[in-house]
């Protein structure tokens, strides 16, 4: 093997003698050439050659998780925070199937990821060999693309192709299945990592159509009741600045989806909050009554629109999205613009500045008065005088102590919605949650992936006593790699979100929604070598948070006992319009 030669110098390729590498070494070398720093994974028979190649170099660092699902969420969260694909390595059979939930999670939220799965030897495929599963078949409907290696010499090209597909167009996870015989250490092949590749069958659009952009600008300028509705596409598309500039230029109210939080700063007065099922009263009202909706990198998800037949009856819809299939999928779009959100918004801004026109200011003034009135209707959202700790209050305090700048990685349930509603996200890429698939168990590994890559940042995992137990074993990984994540366990002793639905729809018959025999989370954290703090009263919260965030490098598990009866409000009334909402246990619109 000649793996000692200079790895980085691509330009000198032609003059240098061709490097001969084994398939296993090529896998790792290609990752290094792609600029990958961390690989998240778990070893097993089918990938042992690759692990041995990993061992023999020091460019790509491996993070050993305790369950493959966690590896996928770590890679996924890194991608959400950085915009670059995270990389996973797992063995065949159970290793690969354990990664399935994480692949589906990334797919639903359009997150770039490259997942390398081991496979049994080529000649054994199809014969029900030990630890053989058809990973291409299993992952087909839950990834952007998948491929398998047929010849070891194709490995560099296929890895480049995987990154190319994962990170361009509408991003998503790509699975590369690698039969063990493709990585034999004693067979070497010429290594060349392509700088770029182009596929004739895959040419995602970049720029938006100029005619459509003109139409959109004209429609926007004619609006009397506009709203800007921004989704996760703005975050992954790195278009937060352009979005903010556009909103400021035209004085538009802005709402973000669950995936789009942070795309527009929450502290700004033009921000009306999140929209949708648990969106703010004013966001849902503003949407419903709007005459022009500018949707940017959002997909009119059913958790946003409520009943599509009653959705925003007066609105002309402009929709900017990289994926043509997202346009007019659930809601008919009047002015579609297919392209990357960043260049499209840049073009719109240029056109608006050149036209020097603004919206009808009298109409806009009236619209803002109406919005301000909605804001006051549902101002106080929870009981601030209660003796029991309220989850909303906890999140507000976490938001304050971290100045709205922490990376907040959430699990799934009521606590997720409270975090989305009450944490003030002022920057993009800070709110990391499984919006599309709603994967309980996502939070802790996600926080780990972020903390590893951003060691100086405050990284918070907001979770519940149900969700945290879905990947609690990762506390051990945190110890191994010194990941000082702050866990905010909003412990209500219930699968709270399930309980809420049972309260509202099943006369409070709590079929399996409460948790008997919860562990002592403080002792559990300590057993893993971390710091655990229990908080049971409002008075204890502040000092506990201060202590936790002062312990910079330590993982602190805050087990916070909150009011078990709290519900998330507003909540859209099923089958209703955007603005049909329950506002509390006793009020509705």
């Amino acid at each position: 093997m000649t793996s000692q030669t200079q790895p980085d110098d691509k330009s000198a390729d032609s003059t240098r003698a061709t490097e001969m590498l084994s398939g296993a070494a090529m896998v790792i070398r290609a990752l290094a050439d792609e600029g990958v720093e961390y690989l998240y994974g778990y070893p097993g028979g089918a990938v042992l050659h690759i692990y041995d190649a990993l061992f023999q170099q020091n460019k790509v660092k491996h993070v050993l998780v305790r369950h493959e699902q966690a590896a996928t969420h770590m890679a996924d969260a890194y991608a959400r925070a950085s915009g670059k694909a995270g990389v996973v390595l797992v063995t065949s059979g159970p290793g690969a199937t354990n990664a399935v939930t994480g692949i589906a999670t990334a797919y639903m939220d359009s997150i770039p990821m490259v997942v390398l799965t081991g496979q049994v030897m080529s000649h054994l495929i199809g014969g029900d060999a030990f630890q053989e599963t058809d990973m291409l078949g299993i992952s087909r409907p839950i990834c952007k693309h998948n491929m398998s290696v047929r010849r070891p010499e194709d490995i560099p090209y296929l890895i480049k192709k995987a990154f190319h597909i994962a990170q361009t167009g509408r991003p998503g996870p790509v699975v590369l299945d690698i039969p063990k015989d493709m990585t034999m250490p004693n067979q070497t092949f010429a290594y060349h990592y392509p700088a770029e590749i182009s596929l004739r069958s895959y040419q995602p659009k970049q720029q938006g159509h100029s005619g459509q952009i003109k139409k959109a600008v004209t429609a926007l300028l004619a609006a009397k009741k506009p709203i800007l509705y921004a989704g996760g596409g703005v975050i992954m598309g790195g278009a937060s600045n352009e979005l903010t500039e556009l909103a400021k230029l035209l004085n538009l109210p802005v709402t973000n989806t669950l995936m789009g939080l942070g795309a527009y700063p929450a502290d700004d007065k033009q921000f009306v909050g999140m929209l949708g099922m648990h969106g703010s009263y004013e966001a849902n009202q503003t949407m419903h009554h709007a005459d022009v909706i500018l949707a940017v990198g959002a997909r009119f998800d059913d958790r946003v629109t409520n009943n599509t037949k009653k959705f925003c009856p007066d609105a002309t819809i402009i929709h900017i999205d990289i994926d043509p299939a997202s346009i007019s999928k659930t809601i008919n779009t009047h002015i579609p613009i297919v392209g990357l959100v960043q260049p499209v918004l840049t073009d719109m801004l240029a056109l608006l500045k050149q036209k020097k026109k603004k919206l009808d200011s009298a109409a806009l003034e009236l619209w803002w008065q109406q919005i301000e009135q909605w804001r006051t209707v549902h101002g106080g959202r929870y009981d601030t005088t209660a003796a029991l700790l309220k989850p909303q209050y906890v999140i507000e305090q976490v938001s304050k102590i971290t100045k709205g700048e922490a990376y907040v990685c959430s699990d799934v349930g009521q606590h997720q919605m409270f975090a989305a509603q009450y944490y003030k996200f002022n920057k993009p890429n800070r709110w990391i949650n499984s919006g599309g698939l709603g994967t309980m168990g996502f939070g802790l590994p996600a926080a780990m992936g972020v903390k590893l890559n951003y060691p100086d940042a405050d990284v918070v995992c907001v979770t519940g006593e149900g969700s945290i137990q879905m990947n609690i074993q990762e506390l051990s990984t945190c110890k191994q790699y010194g990941l000082g994540v702050k866990i905010i366990n909003l412990n209500n002793g219930y699968l709270g979100m399930v309980k809420q639905w049972q309260d509202m729809n099943y006369e409070s018959r709590y079929a399996s929604s409460y948790m008997d025999s919860l562990p002592d989370f403080v002792k559990l954290a300590e057993a893993y070598g971390h710091v655990g703090i229990r908080v049971t009263t409002p008075e204890e919260l502040q000092p506990a948070l201060e202590r936790a965030f002062a312990l910079k490098d330590r993982l602190v598990f805050l087990d916070i006992h909150i009011d078990p009866k709290e519900h998330v409000y507003p909540m859209q009334v099923p089958g209703g319009a955007m603005n049909d909402m329950f506002l509390s246990k006793t009020e509705r619109t």
Partner: protein, 163 residues
């Protein structure tokens, strides 16, 4: 409405499974499907007959486009086109039924391609409608076996679906 969708696909393993999987996963109909390599062995040509309202057909074509191996998609039934399907039918034909079947095959410009004392095998090419009509026309003749290729199609005039 019935639509004939033509797809140019990378001739790679897994590509067809992905395409068929898409239809199953998203609940789209496949009335018929046929596929084979083109004059360029790196490309397959696939003709798919489906039905659905305009919105569904639009989604089908967009979702097909999204598949990485799909090079081109065209709903050829949107404009002037030619559609052909091949059918092989084996029928019981003895006594005076033999003449009857032969006459029917002639009317439809079918060919009898295999004969035994008690059977005929007829080959017929045409639109799917025409093949349906032939089956109807066979009336009481006992049908033993029917093999249909599913429709293939091509645009009329100079329009092509090629690289």
């Amino acid at each position: 409405m019935r639509h004939i969708i033509s797809v140019l696909l990378e001739n790679e393993s897994g590509a067809l499974a992905r395409l068929v999987g898409l239809f199953a996963q998203r609940g789209y109909n496949i009335d018929s499907l046929n596929v084979a390599a083109t004059e360029d062995p790196t490309l397959s040509r696939l003709t798919l007959v489906t039905h659905g309202n305009d919105q569904v057909i639009e989604q089908i074509s967009k979702q097909l486009h999204k598949l990485i191996e799909v090079v081109k998609v065209s709903d050829i039934s949107e404009a002037a086109h030619i559609e052909r399907e091949l059918m092989l039918v084996k029928v019981k034909a003895s006594g005076n039924q033999r003449e009857e079947v032969k006459r029917c095959a002639d009317i439809f410009r079918g060919q009898i391609i295999d004969v035994t004392p008690a059977t005929y095998t007829i080959q017929l090419v045409g639109t799917s409608d025409k093949l349906d009509a032939f089956i109807q026309a066979l009336g009481t003749t006992p049908i033993m076996e029917v093999v249909r290729s599913g429709a293939s199609g091509i645009a009329r005039g100079e329009k092509t679906l090629a690289l």
